[in-house]
């Protein structure tokens, strides 16, 4: 019994010491003259940096920017921070360690960034897609309608059956706009084209997307564009099995099906990364007006490109390829007007 009381006393003493040391100083203050030192930047990825999709695109965009700015930026990249319980500690730890900029690459980082950014007003936070922000945080997102438009043009020109398809994940903002852009693009080529559309409702539903794509191909569709992560793999898999064409998204996906991935959109986040860092360095980041708090990548700012046409079946003629490139250039110059797309929910 004595032993128990003794050990309990020791334990509570340790605990008290720890708690007292915690109270020591409340807010971690950073040195003011840090601007001449390297900017400390952390990028937190929810998946692997070589996922041929969402994470890889950001990884490549970031490293591309880094190569040109190695002398004034120090970058730390973490992969696979996916569990809800891990996100907030990871964000807070970087901020606490004095990192100046922290990127949370994904929608699920939104709430944690909101709560952490309040506690660390000196750190800038960037959220990959979403809609909420604080004074010291902003969002980078993709303006998918113009990209969808060019995909629609490619699909309509390629299709011999007059039937094309599109498979998306959740029926959420940017994906919805991409799909509408796709329909507009396709109809600009052939107003009577039949467009089949499926939302699987889930980004990771590879099997559901595969089933949807197989159904489309079986009904005579010969080109499908997909607009998401895991579902993209399902669509490409179906294309390979049915030996039809698929159009990719986010990252160059030709490696997934060399005979069946016709082209695809590639996100070039570096188009806005430079702008983000310029704003942070100049100090204007925290005073941005609300409408400028979302950095959009689009065709006009080279943030969206289509990957080189890969047409082993020879379904596209030379002049059609030229037409595609022309359309792309027109979109870039803003010569094709896409009506504003709003989603009625």
């Amino acid at each position: 019994m004595k032993r128990i009381i003794k050990s309990m006393a020791v334990f509570s003493m340790v605990l008290v010491t720890v708690l007292v040391s915690l109270t020591g100083c409340a807010s971690p203050s950073k040195s003011v003259g840090a601007s001449k030192e390297k900017l400390k930047v952390a990028l937190i990825l929810p998946g692997k940096k070589d996922d041929v999709s969402f994470n890889q695109a950001m990884y490549e965009g970031m490293t591309a920017y880094m190569e040109e700015h190695e002398e004034d930026i120090e970058l730390k990249i973490v992969e696979n921070v996916y569990e809800v319980a891990d996100i907030q500690p990871a964000l807070a730890d970087f901020a606490d360690q004095g990192y100046d900029v922290v990127f949370g690459h994904g929608f699920q980082f939104m709430e944690p960034i909101i709560s952490v950014s309040k506690k660390y007003p000196d750190t800038c936070f960037l959220l990959g897609t979403g809609y909420k922000f604080e004074e010291n945080s902003a969002i980078y997102d993709v303006d998918l309608e113009s990209g969808g438009y060019i995909m629609g043009v490619i699909a309509a020109l390629t299709s011999e059956t007059g039937k094309i398809g599109v498979v998306g994940g959740a029926d959420a903002s940017e994906i919805f706009r991409g799909h509408e852009g796709y329909k507009l693009g396709a109809k600009s080529i052939n107003p009577l084209i039949e467009i089949q559309e499926v939302y699987t409702g889930d980004w990771t539903d590879t099997a559901g997307a595969y089933e949807a794509a197989v159904g489309m191909y079986d009904s005579g569709v010969d080109v499908i564009w997909h607009s998401g992560d895991g579902i993209g793999l399902g669509v490409v898999q179906a294309a390979v099995e049915k030996d039809k064409y698929a159009l990719g998204n986010v990252e160059d996906q030709v490696s997934l099906g060399e005979k069946n991935v016709l082209s695809g959109l590639q996100y070039k986040w570096e188009a806005v990364i430079a702008q983000i860092f310029d704003d942070i360095k100049s100090g204007s980041f925290k005073t941005l007006s609300d409408d400028k708090r979302i950095y959009w990548i689009n065709i006009a700012n080279d943030g969206l490109v289509y990957t080189e046409i890969n047409d082993p079946k020879g379904m596209l003629k030379e002049e059609e390829k030229k037409f595609i490139e022309n359309t792309f250039q027109q979109l870039k110059k803003g010569e094709i007007e896409i009506p504003e797309i709003t989603q009625n929910k």
């Binding site: 334990f11 509570s12 915690l22 409340a26 500690p89 807070a92 730890d93 699920q108």
Partner: protein, 356 residues
């Protein structure tokens, strides 16, 4: 007293040896992966103690782990192998979150009500397994494990369906009102007043084994026949023991919902239940041992994620170390198992007989 001290010294030495062995094997793996083991372990230590924030995160992990492991130890003392702490935790989180979100009462009533509901939900979930054992002789290892799955999918159903936050698209409930949350100890860190509850429970556990109920539980662990002779209602005690064990996990679920996440979300249990089992066994079901091993595992987890962030060593190394400790703990338990010893003795005896 002296032999007791010697005994616990032996037990502690065994635990330390197991941890050391796991760390050595982990170091070899770090070396193979092309990194420096000393650097990796140093990052784990600095990742757990290096700043106030990290220290705060350490206790954020330690609170639920300790509470759950202590609850598990009660069942294990009675030889009831409750491995369903995860599910009991989840049910506690669900019940308390539902109270916090849907019941319109002043906070001073809601908070105790939510605690009570969490304890009840966790207790009943474990009690169900206990009842199945007494009624149908269903093995509690299987039933508690299966109940884990039911709880996990029930939670998923709720956060994707009826309890989903109407303002978002994520699998989570709406957020709890600020007046209901467990107060933070320091405004900048997540460490909250739930630590007081953990300390109270630790203190309580030191005395639990001296109470009549603790004594009965212990006796059931010695064997059903003995307990029946001693005049104990075995069936009732089994169910009550399971319920107490589950109540602890349910309380930990309340703590996580009201102190850390402030809402219900998918995967809220984060696999704490499984680690708590290892902690209870590594701590030899002794309250002090459990507190120490839970502290150790919290260091591993918090420091491990920091190691992944700051070095190129993957977090999987931490999982390997955890896994090794589990294997060692099981191996030791198996070796110590009297049943095995007896069969060995019998077998040797028979061999001797044949030899004659």
């Amino acid at each position: 007293m002296k032999t007791k001290l010697l005994n616990s010294g032996k037990k502690a030495a065994g635990a330390v040896a197991m941890i050391a062995l796991a760390l050595i094997i982990g170091a070899v793996l770090v070396l193979i992966s092309g990194n420096k083991p000393m650097e990796a372990y140093a990052t784990i230590i600095s990742g757990a103690f290096g700043s106030k924030l990290r220290l705060s995160e350490l206790f954020i992990k330690m609170i639920p782990l300790t509470i759950m492991a202590l609850g598990i130890s009660i069942a294990y003392k009675a030889q009831l192998w409750n491995i369903g702490a995860d599910g009991q935790f989840t049910m506690g989180a669900i019940a308390s979150a539902a109270i916090g979100i849907y019941v319109e009462l002043p906070p001073f009533l809601i908070v105790p009500l939510s605690i009570l509901s969490a304890i009840l939900a966790g207790g009943l979930w474990a009690g169900l397994a206990g009842w199945l054992k007494t009624k149908f002789n269903a093995n509690e290892v299987i039933t508690t494990l299966m109940l884990n799955y039911i709880a996990t999918y029930f939670l998923a159903f709720l956060v994707y369906g009826p309890m989903m936050d109407p303002q978002g698209e994520l699998a989570q409930s709406e957020v709890l009102k600020e007046s209901l949350r467990i107060p933070l100890l320091f405004s900048n860190y997540r460490i909250h007043a739930g630590i007081v509850i953990m300390i109270l429970i630790i203190l309580l556990m030191f005395f639990f084994w001296k109470t009549p109920l603790g004594y009965k539980t212990d006796l059931i662990g010695q064997g059903e026949k003995v307990s029946t002779y001693a005049g104990i209602n075995v069936k009732r005690t089994i169910i009550i023991t399971m319920m107490i064990s589950g109540a602890f996990a349910g309380l930990a679920g309340w703590n996580e919902t009201y102190g850390v996440q402030y809402r219900l979300l998918e995967g809220i249990s984060s696999g704490y239940g499984d680690i708590a089992v290892v902690i209870a066994l590594l701590g030899e079901l002794n309250p002090l041992g459990i507190v120490i091993s839970s502290f150790f595992f919290s260091i591993l987890m918090v420091g491990g994620s920091c190691m992944q962030r700051m070095t190129n060593v993957p977090y999987s190394i931490v999982d390997v170390i955890k896994g090794l400790i589990i294997i060692f703990v099981i191996a030791r338990t198996a070796f110590r198992n009297t049943a095995i010893k007896y069969t060995m003795k019998e077998w040797i005896g028979r061999r001797k007989n044949y030899a004659k």
